[in-house]
């Protein structure tokens, strides 16, 4: 495979820590991510929501939230381009390393700064708007720390390569081959071990983010409503014949969850869960 061809360094440099971090951890992360998502989808449909705070405050959110989300979408696209598409392919397409690098820095930098600016604004809003802060749980706070760290460290790797210029690290020769090799279950540990510390840090925090993903409000990303583009406007469901099954869209999922025991999805006015229990 390509991954092995481009791998610099030799097997002798791989330490036990490298094996754990870059050989074991990614798979543990995937297991937790997928298992957690399946588990939560099965057992916590009711908690699966954006938990929007727009009702409390809209002025800041209107700027910050799209800035963050669209920035993040661009960042994800950038990760796809950098990690999944091999360097050989872009070179074959006639894209020089300098040109690629320039583009990655420009687009990635803009997207990263936008995302970071968005989340800083969102956190500021969350902290300073009374009702929004009241509705913030410990879970949310943990998530914000990891998410922000992942963005900051990611931006650091990008900015570092700006200042290092041509001598900067080419992650497409280290991190990217390792990333691709994971999918064929032959992790290219040496390649990843050769990457600088900043990339290691960003990768680890990124993995931490994916580990906590299913257990935070971030899950809403996995039910991004693309099927809205295709479903009929009016949804009919039968109370009896197909109890709980959507007449048109996403029916199977609903049918599975509708057999979960009857629930009390609410708490009385003045309950204390928002005040203390989740902080």
């Amino acid at each position: 495979m390509l991954a092995f061809e481009t791998a610099p360094g030799s097997a002798a440099e791989i330490s036990a820590l490298d094996v754990v971090l870059w050989g074991v951890l990614p798979y543990v992360m995937v297991v937790v991510l997928v298992g957690g998502l399946v588990w939560r989808y099965k057992y916590d449909q009711f908690g699966w929501t954006t938990r929007s705070s727009q009702l409390y405050e809209s002025r800041l959110l209107r700027i910050a939230s799209p800035l963050f989300h669209f920035g993040l979408l661009a960042v994800i696209a950038g990760h796809f381009f950098g990690l999944v598409i091999p360097m050989a392919w872009t070179q074959a397409a006639g894209m020089s390393q300098d040109f690629y690098h320039f583009n990655a820095l420009l687009v990635g930098g803009i997207a990263g700064v936008g995302t970071l600016g968005g989340i800083i604004l969102l956190i500021y809003r969350r902290r300073t708007t009374g009702p929004v802060f009241m509705a913030t749980t410990t879970n949310d706070k943990t998530m914000y720390v990891v998410l922000t760290a992942a963005i900051v460290f990611g931006l650091w790797t990008t900015l570092a390569s700006v200042f290092e210029g041509e001598h900067g690290h080419n992650y497409r020769e280290t991190v990217a081959p390792w990333f691709r090799s994971l999918f064929i279950f032959q992790p290219d540990l040496a390649a990843m071990a050769a990457a600088p510390f900043s990339f290691h840090l960003h990768t680890l925090v990124g993995m931490a983010l994916f580990v906590i993903w299913p257990f935070t409000r971030l899950v809403h990303a996995f039910t991004a409503p693309f099927h809205y583009l295709f479903r009929p406007y009016i949804v009919y469901r039968s109370r009896d014949r197909d109890r709980g099954r959507a007449g048109s869209a996403a029916g199977a999922a609903a049918a599975r969850t509708s057999n979960v025991a009857a629930r009390r999805g609410w708490s009385a006015v003045g309950t204390r869960d928002r005040d203390t229990r989740n902080r």
Partner: protein, 577 residues
């Protein structure tokens, strides 16, 4: 033709006294929970007034409902599917809490806890959102009974519109003003724009009875439905992050009981019954070009349940015989289509609403009487309706997309009914010319009188039950004690508020009962700090404070008395703080 059944409601506005009993009982039944403090599935607005949420009828601002595009095709006013998805990260036009109001309670505790002093203790208003002191500036019915209308009356979008069209016709000077009450619930539309706006497809219309519900498991809190509904009758539960709406009290309706708002209505102004309609014709009907023709189009969608071909088609679609029979006896069908006195609210939103209103006539009669005329003489009444253009235009903006003639026709029927029945009550022969003047015959007019004035309970509410053979499906599924997590897991879970699998009601009741039976203390003892709430005390133990501290007799150790049985059969709600 695809015949479907639809539960509908008619409200006779003449009878509404604005007592808000419907709102209060609805709130107690449905939205007396955390996250829905500001939510009123049923609210009563004084018109003219801004409504709840404020100025919700201003669709230039709120973008609710449907509009026709350039090609005459029905599209959501807030934009198509792609636009909706692009706006998902921050819903572009969503009312905020300040557009509803910030819910509050009062710090009642200080009234009893305050130390002795020169000043009377005051129960300060506390925000139910932040828990802090708050200043009450608005509520769900702040402009009740025209309160503040001298200052705020012009903010009513309908007043604005009528004034624009006819220079200064609506006045708020005391002698010239008018008002009536408008109770509102979800319209359970045939062509609901909330449903069309929902990216998750969580909002659905029940095939059996047309009740529009939100699947709380499928809702992901994208908030688009709040924008989509022009009546702003979908609310965001800020605690669970899910949309909620009026349920038409489906658990009651399924067993043949009227909705809570109807059952408790003091004026008995609500009617419940079935419509049969042609589901295939809905979109076409909602797409007619002239908004004033929407009423007729909506009428055409409603099918005549006495028509044998409709009945045959209904049977073919699997509608049970007793439902077809109920549709034949339906009071809402009679008021809407036979007598044609009930009008839909804001047909121009093109959602085909299924809660109908009989426009109010009373101010006309009162005015005539005050002017010294015979307020119930048909000729006088007919003349007065025409003379009183102000309310008619206002009503027309509410109920007929501005078609004043239609409202006048309805009001004339109501006036004719009064006049006709008055003649009979006075022992005169029925004056057939009166019904004829409004295009009705004596028999129909008498039946209309029976339904509207006598309004017997069983005639107002014709609600076919959900079928017994399906009753098992309505029960709590499975053995509810076997659920995961076990008893004791309540209220909150690690993934944020209200996440996780909530406790089945049966388990909650079981726990509550067991706690009561085994605990030595009276419910609420800790929170009452030594005082006893005798209303909550069920005889279990002897709570401290029940008897004076310095007891003359040896104090009994608190514990479950041997003779004390389970006590009350009801689980103690009072146990919660």
């Amino acid at each position: 033709m695809r015949v479907m059944a639809q539960m509908g409601m008619v409200m006779n506005l003449d009878k509404c006294i604005g007592c808000h009993t419907c709102s209060v009982t609805c709130k107690q039944a449905w939205t007396n929970r955390a996250g829905t403090e500001y939510v009123w599935f049923n609210n009563v607005e004084t018109r003219p007034g801004q409504g709840y949420p404020r100025r919700y009828e201003d669709q230039d601002k709120w973008k609710g409902g449907w509009v026709l595009n350039k090609h005459g095709k029905l599209v959501l006013k807030a934009g198509g599917r792609v636009k909706k998805l692009l706006g998902i990260f921050a819903s572009p036009v969503q009312p905020e809490l300040k557009d509803y109001y910030e819910p509050w309670t009062y710090d009642y505790k200080t009234l009893v806890d305050a130390p002795l002093g020169d000043d009377f203790p005051v129960a300060r208003p506390k925000s139910l959102i932040t828990g802090k002191d708050t200043k009450i500036t608005w509520s769900a019915n702040w402009d009740d009974d025209l309160g503040g209308s001298a200052e705020n009356g012009h903010l009513d979008p309908i007043v604005e519109k009528v004034r624009r069209e006819s220079e200064d016709k609506i006045k708020f000077a005391y002698e010239q003003t008018f008002m009536f009450y408008l109770p509102r619930i979800c319209e359970h539309c045939l062509n609901p724009s909330c449903m069309a706006s929902c990216p998750s497809g969580a909002i659905y219309k029940r095939v059996e009875d047309g009740i529009v519900l939100v699947d709380q498991d499928k809702c992901r809190g994208w908030r688009q439905c709040v924008t989509g509904c022009p009546y702003k009758k979908i609310y965001f539960n800020h605690k669970t992050g899910k949309a909620e709406k009026c349920t038409f009290c489906y658990p009651r309706v399924e067993v043949g009981l009227p909705t809570v708002c109807s059952e408790t209505c003091v004026g008995r102004l609500r009617y419940l019954g079935l419509f049969l309609y042609d589901a295939d014709a809905v979109t076409t009907a909602a797409s007619v070009t002239d908004p004033q023709e929407l009423y007729d189009a909506q009428m055409d969608v409603l099918l005549d349940p006495n028509d044998p071909s409709v009945q045959a088609e209904a049977r073919a679609q699997g509608i049970p015989e007793d439902w077809i029979d109920a549709a034949r006896r339906s009071p809402v069908y009679a008021l809407a289509k036979v007598y044609k006195v009930a009008l839909p609210l804001h047909p121009e939103y093109r959602t085909m609403p299924m809660v109908w209103y009989v426009p109010p006539l009373s101010p006309v009669v009162d005015l005539l009487r005050d002017q010294g005329h015979d307020g119930e003489d048909a000729g006088n009444l007919f003349g007065a309706i025409d003379a009183l253009r102000i309310p008619v235009e206002y009503l027309a903006e509410l109920f007929t997309a501005g078609d004043a003639d239609r409202v006048t026709a309805v009001l004339k029927k109501l006036a004719a009914m009064r006049s006709f029945m008055r003649g009979i009550s006075l022992g005169n022969d029925p004056d057939d010319s009166i019904p004829e003047a409004v295009g009705m015959d004596s028999q129909t007019m008498y039946e209309m009188y029976r339904l509207m004035a006598i309004a017997k309970y069983e005639e107002r509410y014709v609600i076919p039950k959900a079928h017994v053979e399906q009753a098992h499906d309505l029960e709590e599924m499975g053995c509810s004690l076997d659920f995961e997590g076990g008893p004791g897991m309540q209220d909150s879970a690690p993934f944020g508020e209200a996440s996780g699998r909530p406790v089945p009601v049966a388990v909650e009741t079981f726990n509550a009962l067991r706690d009561r039976q085994t605990s030595g203390s009276a419910p609420g003892e800790t929170t009452l700090r030594g005082r006893v709430n005798l209303l909550n005390w069920d005889g279990t133990g002897a709570p401290s404070g029940l008897f004076p501290e310095k007891a003359l007799f040896p104090e009994k150790p608190p514990g479950p008395g041997p003779g004390a049985g389970p006590g009350a059969g009801t689980p103690a709600d009072g146990e919660r703080p």
